[in-house]
Symmetry: C2
Subunit: 332 residues, 2 copies
């Protein structure tokens, strides 16, 4: 059973997931591919994955069989286990609980050779609809506090299979940085009675120096104090604490702007590995209406010097104003 | 001039250091070596570096010339600049200041082919004495709030030159994770009237499950909730808020235990890249006697999946109890 353990000094929870575990000699090789040659995410290979949780099928076809345009499955090597109680216990001064949670994979397309930015906007929109469906389902489980959606694109960004996919992890805790964001948004709201992300959107739309692109529903900016070169945030223009309350208009505009932004990254930076993380309000009682959901995209262009992980302090060699200017006019 | 910029939501400062800057086409290649062939850190090549700030010379010899056993120089490509005022200004809702600070390099040995764990304990001890001297000097500058000492070992850990060296950065702010640690230590002290690190040492010495090694002055443990496999902390056994107040006994024991622990990592894990970060109390008025300085060592064995940077939430495939058992009995 995986464990969740809490650092007593900074209150940071980590997953210790020994079932994906490795002996010392197994480091630093990448995790083994599920199968040599055959891609478990390709149509016809459905039996290589756990049973699907959700699939979109343009024409009726049976589950776990070809014919789907998008497919959500449990992760075959989950970091957390779905069965079991919380099992919160103390261990002297320390705290731990069972590593319960859901770990799912969304296969974005049946086509092995297409990347997210190459898909039609409708197919990108479908990914967000599917995640919304999974949110609604997982929120019924009162053990969960946060649902994390992310994409690792490229091996250097942590992807172990190349077929385009995103991941979802439902957690019984709220990740540390999300807690910090919630606290910051709450602090700003208590002082100003305004959402800090709405204020940020207003300032960015005013001076436009860090704006990358926009449409009727979303704004894409390089943030003022980015940790990474060409870091980019996509924010809904209207205040919205919770991703899963988004409507069709929202997903339509998100899909179009996300495709546009990923194409800009490809054109400006030559298809680098990247990570995409959805930040949204916690679920099941710990949500906060002062928060504003958004997406953060971090191209993987530099090696992190070690002190950055050790201190939370980052050195970024590119001004966000320069990054935004480059991304506004890449060779598309 | 580099800039320090603050994220308004989570109050995280980042350095934007465009003078080390790169155009999009320069990514993701590593920074250029200072010189092809010749190592700027080797004796005889002193003219390839800025003038030395400090050097230990067993026999009298002139500065910036061979004969040294250890040498501290300004970083030729500093992330921060030593000259200038704070220049704190607002920019609408945002905050920034001049990127002032010191960025120094400590060359651990004149021998190009020796690693820190292969050096005699006396030479390792000398590194800590040199850093203490630099601390005392830099603390006189009232602009600085924190002095960060770290080592990137191996290219994957961010080292751009292979000749063994450590780095020092003096900052006008306190890094985010150090702030979190200070707050956690203060919270524990306010409640228990004890240092949380002293409590941690007592518990670890009691059950010994996560103890890697110890001597009269220092304890080395795999922490209870490690972010990374084989993460290891070295803590002075007696309460000590500030690294720079260490005496000869402390450095003697630190040098011996550090050498021992690095040799264990080499034996157990096959000389992986690693990062070492010294955590100590802030300087110039923001220090806190409830803190306890220590060293964190993070072998680089896994790729960070992207969501870990985006959330501060980590998945670790190795139990610290298993890591400690392996490190206690590696093939030495």
């Amino acid at each position: 059973m995986p464990e969740l353990r809490k650092d007593p000094i900074v209150n940071r929870w980590v997953i210790i997931s020994t079932e994906r575990g490795r002996r010392p000699k197994d480091y630093p090789s990448p995790p083994p591919k599920t199968n040599q040659g055959a891609c478990p995410f390709c149509p016809g290979n459905e039996s290589m994955t756990p049973h699907e949780l959700l699939a979109y099928r343009p024409n009726p076809s049976p589950p776990d069989a070809p014919g789907w345009s998008l497919r959500v499955i449990p992760n075959k090597f989950p970091a957390l286990k779905i069965e079991g109680g919380m099992g919160r216990v103390g261990d002297g001064m320390y705290d731990r609980m069972n590593g319960i949670g859901a770990h799912e994979v969304l296969i974005e397309s049946p086509n092995h050779n297409v990347e997210l930015d190459e898909m039609p906007p409708e197919a990108i929109e479908a990914c967000w609809w599917a995640f919304k469906q999974r949110f609604v389902d997982l929120k019924k489980d009162s053990r969960f506090r946060y649902i994390l959606i992310f994409k690792n694109h490229g091996e250097a960004a942590g992807a172990s299979l190349e077929h385009a996919h995103m991941q979802l992890i439902a957690l019984p805790i709220v990740p540390e940085l999300v807690c910090d964001e919630l606290a910051g948004a709450r602090r700003h709201y208590d002082y100003k009675e305004r959402c800090i992300f709405c204020d940020l959107i207003a300032q960015e739309l005013g001076d436009r120096k860090r704006v990358v692109a926009e449409n009727a529903g979303f704004l894409s900016v390089c943030p003022y104090a980015p940790r990474f070169p060409y870091e980019m945030w996509l924010l809904p223009k209207n205040h919205a604490p919770r991703f899963e309350e988004s409507d069709g208009d929202t997903f339509y505009h998100l899909a179009h702007l996300l495709k546009d932004c990923l194409k800009r990254i490809r054109a400006a930076l030559g298809a680098p590995p990247y990570n995409l993380v959805l930040h949204t309000s916690p679920i099941n009682g710990k949500g906060d209406d002062t928060y504003h959901w958004h997406i953060e995209i971090m191209p993987k262009l530099t090696k992190l010097a070690g002190f950055e992980q050790g201190t939370g302090f980052y050195i970024n060699p590119t001004l966000p104003e320069d990054a935004a200017a480059t991304l506004r006019s890449p060779v598309l």
